[in-house]
């Protein structure tokens, strides 16, 4: 079984791996590289729990083949904090209790990071539509939206 050799960059670090043609990037991250921060909630792009940023584009890693990461930049929740410094979104998710079970949290953090990168001062409605690809079943989204609003304020001031 000849695997496909892939060289890619994940959270700023160079990675090389072999994967099968039908293997998703999510499977590669979780099962081959031990990066289990991205979660599989559906495997069909409907829940957003596996969200990553691929070359500045927010995507579901379950809808990307591992082979497609060749030569590209991958960003996962594991790369959000800088050393011992949490990203403002991570900090605000904690402070606002924007997570209960926490399974959707990595996907929300990545999606919110992408949202704020493209729109640093979103309205509540823009946040809600911007995060509509991420399902949360615990919080009713209220505290998530508040955490993103608060993080946006902090990041604008920074």
């Amino acid at each position: 079984m000849a695997g496909i050799a892939v060289s890619t960059t994940i959270n700023g670090d160079a990675f090389e791996y072999l994967c099968q043609p039908d293997e998703t990037l999510l499977d590669v991250l979780r099962d081959r590289l031990g990066l289990t921060g991205a979660k599989e909630g559906c495997g069909t792009g409907d829940c957003g729990a596996c969200s990553i940023i691929l070359d500045d584009r927010l995507v579901c890693s379950c809808l990307v083949l591992g082979a497609e990461a060749e030569g590209r930049q991958v960003e996962t929740v594991e790369g959000m904090a800088h050393g011992d410094q949490l990203h403002p979104l991570q900090q605000k998710f904690l402070e606002h209790a924007a997570l209960q079970c926490g399974i959707c949290t990595p996907g929300f953090l990545i999606a919110a990071k992408d949202l704020l990168a493209k729109n640093p001062d979103p309205t509540e409605e823009e946040i809600r539509f911007g995060l509509a690809g991420n399902l949360c079943r615990c919080t009713g989204y209220d505290k998530i939206v508040r955490a993103v609003q608060d993080a946006a304020n902090v990041m604008k001031g920074a």
């Binding site: 099968q20 039908d22 499977d27 979780r30 990066l35 289990t36 921060g37 991205a38 979660k39 599989e40 909630g41 559906c42 495997g43 069909t44 409907d46 829940c47 729990a49 996962t76 929740v77 594991e78 959000m80 904090a81 949490l86 991570q90 998710f93 904690l94 402070e95 209790a97 997570l99 209960q100 079970c101 926490g102 399974i103 959707c104 949290t105 990595p106 953090l109 509540e124 409605e125 946040i127 809600r128 539509f129 995060l131 509509a132 690809g133 991420n134 399902l135 949360c136 079943r137 615990c138 919080t139 009713g140 989204y141 209220d142 505290k143 998530i144 939206v145």
Partner: protein, 754 residues
């Protein structure tokens, strides 16, 4: 047990504050390990083959080709899970549900499983298993299943609870009845009677994390199971019984859990994973796909409910009656019984009668879903109550206040209430600004009440004090929504130390005594009781060590604000000893200091809520949008108010999804057509407004801090509150949940036409 659980009315310093949760940092950095995030060396991938038929006899299973495929290490069928249930009918059903024995009873029923070196090989192996089915007629609708002509799902079932033993088998497994007084007479005194029939479709808890486990059975009969569950001790009991293992030799570790809401209270694939591991001699990881979660875990009941309520012109309800039919999947359940108990629990009624029927259908086994059975009953009853208020010309809140149950009321399901929160939540609703806010075009307001029992149960906690004065708290109730934070607050409160000095963990089944699962809103209620008890036991030892240090009688030592204090003027020169100071010397004063508690937490206070919501309906498309939502609920005492709010908001959101769009859709062939998040439509962020919460605190007299469970009640009122709002906005009474756009538009058109 030398422990007084009565409410003491103390002042709090930690309880009621809002610190960060101890498990938060792992969850925002992606380090928290859930069911599928754990691996063992040499682990195989397990996969389950499922019946595509709703009802079929399994004539033959040929696994030989699959076994020969390179990389396949084990193939199992029901034959590999022999019946060890010893006449325990409930456990036999669990076994049959894990792996069909002779008959597939629903689309998705497991019929075989494989363990292979990788996912792709396992998938290919499933395709090589040959099964010969004889397809049988099926029934998926609850009303259809009750008909005499319906296909029988289990011909050994004769309806229980009837006056005469039935001569023929039936899909109705049980009839139950509750109430008091004489409803016939009561209706005779009514000036107005409302009588209506309602239907609700089947919904799923919709937790984002699919069921996942890693199982390892060793040759010496010991085993390990890593699993996302709401109750690892219960999983241990069930798996041990089904596999013939000794319970104490099976160590079950509960992973972080990515949502459960009742759906992770039953074993599904875990015994299968253990059986695969036993046969393959290697660890097996088994993760359900989303499709499998919908088809083969445990959704809630579909229901059909008739309600009749009568009242006098002054607004006094004279009689109330309901007949409730709940589907339970292909196995006997008690879902209608629970619905029948909760239906009229909010009201003070002289004449009340509820009858429940448990109905078998060819759908997955019904499991608990947050206050199981109560939302559907509340939908029917609260819709009829609203209609009755309208017919009487009385404000719906005033009408409910007039008839609300109080302390001393005999509940419709039997017990007499202690201090309860239904009246206060209604009064709060009456005075809430939401009630007076103006409504726009095509908008309507609705409100409704809800009740849930709350559970207690077997609970066990260990509290260990380190020599540096830090404290670890080992609990056995799985943390589904922040209970490690709230239990740390309780321990900090009792010990008189800082929250930051504590770390709470969920212990595995080999490290702590048995705990019932986290269900019935019991996690914080019961484990906080055990935590208080364990802390008090530790304090006894701390006082003892101080007394020893001072060489004075222990009765002269009290514990205040985290310190041992020598009581009395004769000890005036003895400086108080902090927990930290006592802990530092523990090695020379008698060894480690710990407090333990094993108890049955009784007296979970019942819980009530009132919800208000505003809906806008597009009269041309039938689309209903929630534009404002308010939750008012009694928490007894909110230990960590932020997480209490989270429970209120989360339950309301699930109820909104149920009310408007979520439903299991079966085709004529008995197959589930929407087994995915694309067409099983749970609310997305842009579907909802902010959800306003108001926490009331009517102390539970049976808990030292007054705590009541808070997790479930919030899903009870939304179906009815939204139905009332949609009915008001659209000008037509909605009686079928979910109120999806085609149903709303059809109702509007029918009203226009008629």
């Amino acid at each position: 047990m030398n422990f007084d659980p009565r409410f003491s009315g103390r002042k709090f310093s930690s309880v009621g504050t809002r610190p960060l949760r101890p498990d938060g940092i792992d969850k925002v950095t992606g380090r928290a390990r859930y069911g599928a995030d754990f691996n063992m060396a040499g682990q195989l991938v397990g996969r389950v083959l499922r019946s595509p038929h709703a009802h079929a006899k399994i004539l033959k299973i040929d696994t030989s080709k699959a076994e020969k495929l390179a990389g396949v290490k084990a193939v199992i069928t029901a034959a590999d899970l022999p019946d060890l249930t010893d006449g325990d009918a409930g456990m036999y059903d669990v076994l049959d549900n894990c792996m069909a024995r002779g008959k597939a009873l629903y689309d998705g029923h497991a019929v075989a499983a494989v363990a292979a070196v990788d996912a792709s090989t396992a998938r290919q192996a499933l395709k090589l298993i040959e099964i010969e089915y004889e397809i049988l007629p099926h029934v998926t609708d609850v009303d259809e299943a009750m008909k005499h002509t319906a296909p029988l799902i289990n011909d050994a079932i004769f309806t229980e609870g009837l006056e005469e033993k039935p001569a023929k088998p039936s899909n109705v497994t049980k009839r139950s009845q509750f109430g008091h007084g004489d409803v016939h007479q009561g209706f005779g005194h009514a000036d107005v009677i409302v009588e209506r029939s309602f239907k609700t479709e089947q919904t799923h808890q919709g937790y984002i994390e699919p069921h996942a486990c890693v199982a390892n059975v060793n040759l010496d009969g010991t085993a390990d199971l890593w699993v996302c569950t709401q109750g690892h001790f219960v999983y241990r009991q069930h798996c041990a019984q089904l596999l013939g293992l000794e319970a104490s030799k099976l160590r079950v570790t509960s992973s972080e859990i990515g949502g459960g809401f009742g759906g992770k209270t039953h074993v599904w694939a875990e015994p299968v994973a253990l059986a695969l591991s036993r046969k393959a001699g290697r660890p097996v990881k088994l993760v359900m796909t989303r499709d499998e979660v919908f088809r083969a875990s445990g959704p809630t009941s579909a229901t059909s409910i008739d309600v009749k309520i009568g009242a006098r012109k002054d607004g006094t309800i004279t009689a109330a009656e309901a007949t409730l039919r709940y589907s339970s999947g292909p196995y006997a359940g008690t879902w209608a019984e629970i619905g029948a108990m909760t239906a009229f629990a909010c009201y003070k009624l002289d004449n009340v009668k509820t009858v429940g029927f448990e109905v078998l259908v060819n759908r997955p086994k019904t499991a608990a879903y947050r206050a199981p059975s109560a939302p559907m009953a509340a939908f029917a009853v609260e819709s009829a109550v609203d209609e009755l208020a309208k017919e009487l010309g009385i404000d719906p809140v005033e009408f409910r206040i007039k008839n609300a149950a109080q302390e001393g009321t005999r509940s419709s399901y039997g017990p007499v209430y202690g201090p309860i929160g239904i009246g206060p939540t209604l009064e709060a609703a009456k005075h809430h600004p939401h009630m007076k806010a103006p409504l726009g075009k095509n908008q309507g307001r609705g409100m409704a009440c809800g009740f849930w029992f709350n559970f207690g149960g077997q609970t066990c906690v260990d509290l260990n004090i380190g020599m540096d004065g830090s404290v670890s708290l080992a609990v056995g109730t799985v943390d589904v929504g922040g209970s490690r934070a709230s239990l740390s607050l309780v321990a900090a409160e009792e010990l008189g130390i800082d929250y930051a000095q504590l770390k709470a963990v969920v212990a595995d089944t080999s490290s702590l005594g048995y705990n019932d699962m986290t269900d019935g809103s019991r996690g914080t209620f019961s484990s906080s009781m055990a935590t208080i008890s364990a802390a008090r036991n530790a304090i006894k030892i701390l006082r003892d060590r101080a007394a020893q240090t001072w060489d004075i009688p222990v009765d002269d030592v009290v514990w205040e604000n985290g310190h041992a204090i020598a009581k009395g003027e004769k000890y005036g020169n003895l400086a108080a000893l902090s927990l930290k100071e006592i802990a530092a010397k523990s090695g020379t004063t008698g060894g480690p200091i710990a407090g333990h508690s094993e108890l049955v937490a009784d007296g979970a206070g019942v819980s009530f809520a009132t919800h208000i919501c505003d809906i806008e309906v597009d009269p041309e498309t039938g689309a209903a949008r929630v534009i404002r939502y308010t939750v008012i609920q009694d928490a007894g005492k909110a230990v960590h108010p932020t997480y209490v709010e989270g429970q209120y908001q989360g339950g309301a959101a699930q109820g909104i999804g149920w009310a408007l769009n979520e439903e299991y859709i079966y085709g004529k062939d008995g197959r589930l057509q929407n087994a995915g998040f694309l067409d099983y439509r749970i609310p997305v962020c842009s579907d909802l407004p902010m959800i306003d919460t108001q926490i009331l605190e009517i102390p539970n007299p049976n808990h030292p801090y007054g705590v009541r469970g808070v997790g479930e009640t919030s899903i009870v009122p939304p179906l009815a509150a939204i139905a009332n709002a949609v009915s008001n906005a659209a000008g037509v009474r909605m009686t079928h949940i979910p109120m999806s756009p085609p149903r709303v538009l059809a109702a509007i058109e029918a009203e226009r036409g008629g």
